[in-house]
Amino acid sequence: MNLTKNNRTDKNRKETFFKYLFLFCAFVAVISVFAITFFVFARGLKPFMPWNDSGYSLIDFLSGVEWRPGSDKFGILYMIIGSLLATIGAITIGVPIGLFTAVFIAELAPKKIANIVRPAVELLAGIPSILYGVFGLGMIVKILTKYSPNAQGQSLLATILVLTIMILPTVITMSETAIRAVPSCYRDGSLALGASKIQTVFKVIIPAAKSGIFAGVVLGIGRAIGETMAVMLVSGNPIAGIPTSLWDRVRPLTTNIALEMGYASGTHQDLLFSTGVVLFIFIMIINLALNKLVHNKIK
C-alpha cells in the first residue's frame, strides 16, 4: 500500500473523522443530561398539572408527612427532612475526618504510613455501595440496637454513620489533590517566618487549597444525598413521621423511589418521579450554591 502518495488527504480525512468522533462523544454526556432531566421532569410534574384529573396537589405532596399510596396519601416532607438531616450529619462528621486524613497523608505522615493509608482510602472508594449497606445492617445497626431507646438500630444515626464512611474517599481524595497543588513556596515561606507545621497547615495550606476542598465537599454532599442502596438497608424507611431524634427512623427520598418503583403504577408511579424531581432540584441547588461560594472565595 502506498502511504506517501495520498498522505495529505488521508491525514485530513483522519483529522476530520476524529474531530467528529470527539464531538459525538462529548454530546453523549450532554444529551444524557438533557434526556434524563426532560424525562424525570415530564413524568414528575404530570400529577401537578391542573388539566390532570387523576393528579395530586403539589402543596399536599410537599407538606405531607405520611406516605400511604393505598389511601392516596403522598406526603414527602418527612422524607425531605430525613434526607437533609442524614446528609448534614454525614458532612458534619465526614468532612473534618476526611480533611484531616488528607492533611495527614499529604503533609505530615511518614512515607511508610501514607503508603498504607492511601491505598486503603482508594479501596474504600471502590467498594460497591450495597456492601456498605450490608456492613451497616450487620455491624452498625446491630451495635446501635443495644443502645437505642427504640429497641432497634435502623435509625437516622445508622444512616449518618454509613454515609460518613461512604463520603470519606471523595473528601479525602479531592482534598489531598488540592493540598498537594499548593505551591511549596507557600509552605517554605510560612515555615521560614517561624510558623509551626500545624500553624502552616491551618493558616496557609488549607486556605490556599480551599476551592479544591470545597469541590470535595460538594461531591460528598452529592454522594450522600443521592445514595440509595446502602441507606435503604439501615434507615428503616417508615411510612410516616418527621425524625426528631438521632434514634428515629428516616426514609430518604432516594429509597422511597427505589422501594416502590418496581410495583407502582398510575399516579403512585408519577409521584415517585416527582420525588425524583425534588431530589434533582436539591442536587442542583447544592451544586449551584457551593459553586458560587467557591468562585467568590477565589476572587
Binding site: 429497641a151 424507611n237 411510612i239 418496581g262
Partner: protein
C-alpha cells in the same frame, strides 16, 4: 496498515454502540420453547386478582411459547372483578386471591384452586413467644399492641417490620389479617422478603412476615392460632395466614386454547411455574 485496523475497530465500536440500543429485549424469550409446538389457535382472555398476575402471566408466557398461535391476555383488575367477569363472560377465566363468597357463587360457575399463598409470621429465635392469634397480629401491626409483655413475653418494645407499599406479600398479609392501609407509622420497612428476614434475625424484639421459602434457622416462625406454618397446613387450609388462588369459569365459555391452558396450569410443569413465582403448588 496498523492504523487502518485501529480505524476500522473504532468504526465497528461506534457502530455497535449506535445499534446496540435498538435490538434489546425483543427476542430473549425465543429459543427456550420446550415441548412440541402445536397448531392450537385462539385467544385466552383472563382477568381478576392482581396477586395472581405474576403466576398467570408467567404460565401464559410459557403456554404461548409452546403454542405460538395462541394469544394470551390477563387483566389485573381485582378479585371481585375477576369473578364477575367470568360470570358475565368478559373473561373466559376469572381469578380471585381469596375464597369465592357465597353470594358470588353463580350457577354452574366452576371453581378451581390452582395455587396457595402462605405467609409466615417470624420473630427472633431468642423470643419466648411461640404462638400468636390473627387478632393479635392485627393489633401489633396497627400499633395497638406495642410491648411483648402484652403478648405474654418479656417487657420489651415490639419492633414491627413490614414490606414496601405495593409488595404482593404485604398486600396479601394486610388483606388476610384485615388491617388494610392501617399499618402503624412506627413500622420499619424492609425491601423484599430477604431484607425483612435479616432485619428480624438481627433484632431480638422484632416481628416480621415473609413467604414460606424464607423461613430458616436465623428466624423463628410463630404458630398462628396453634397451627404451624407449613405447606401441608396451608394445603389442608388449617393455617390461617394463607389464601387460595382460585380460578372460576363457565365450562361452556371455554375455547380449546383456554381448556388446554387450564390443563397446562394444573400440570406439573405449570405448577412448577407457580412455585417459581412464589406460590404454593396444589399438587
Amino acid at each position: 496498515m496498523k492504523k487502518y485496523t485501529i480505524f476500522i475497530l473504532i468504526m465497528l465500536m461506534a457502530f455497535t454502540l449506535a445499534t446496540g440500543c435498538q435490538g434489546g429485549s425483543e427476542d430473549d424469550s425465543e429459543g427456550q420453547v420446550s415441548g412440541d409446538v402445536t397448531n392450537l389457535t385462539g385467544e385466552i382472555v383472563g382477568g381478576g386478582s392482581t396477586s395472581t398476575k405474576n403466576i398467570m402471566e408467567a404460565t401464559g408466557e410459557e403456554f404461548t411459547a409452546i403454542n405460538p398461535d395462541v394469544i394470551f391476555e390477563y387483566n389485573s383488575t381485582g378479585s371481585s372483578d375477576g369473578v364477575k367477569g367470568a360470570d358475565e363472560g368478559t373473561y373466559a377465566i376469572g381469578t380471585a386471591s381469596r375464597q369465592i363468597k357465597e353470594e358470588e357463587k353463580a350457577s354452574n360457575l366452576t371453581e378451581k384452586v390452582f395455587a396457595f399463598d402462605g405467609i409466615a409470621v417470624i420473630v427472633h429465635p431468642d423470643n419466648d413467644i411461640q404462638d400468636i392469634t390473627i387478632e393479635q397480629i392485627a393489633k401489633v401491626y396497627k400499633g395497638e399492641i406495642v410491648n411483648w409483655s402484652e403478648l405474654g413475653g418479656e417487657d420489651a418494645p415490639i419492633v414491627v417490620v413490614s414490606r414496601e407499599d405495593g409488595s404482593g406479600t404485604r398486600g396479601a398479609f394486610e388483606e388476610i389479617i384485615d388491617f388494610e392501609e392501617a399499618l402503624t407509622a412506627d413500622a420499619t420497612i424492609g425491601e423484599g422478603n430477604g431484607n425483612v428476614q435479616s432485619t428480624v434475625a438481627g433484632n431480638a424484639n422484632s416481628i416480621g412476615y415473609v413467604s414460606f421459602t424464607y423461613i430458616d434457622s436465623t428466624v423463628k416462625a410463630l404458630t398462628v392460632e396453634g397451627i404451624e406454618a407449613t405447606t401441608e397446613n396451608v394445603l389442608n387450609e388449617s393455617y390461617k395466614v394463607s389464601r387460595p388462588f382460585v380460578m372460576v369459569y363457565h365450562e361452556e365459555n371455554l375455547n380449546d386454547a383456554t381448556k388446554a391452558y387450564i390443563e397446562f396450569l394444573m400440570s406439573s410443569e405449570g405448577q412448577k411455574i407457580v412455585e417459581s413465582e412464589g406460590g404454593i403448588p396444589v399438587k
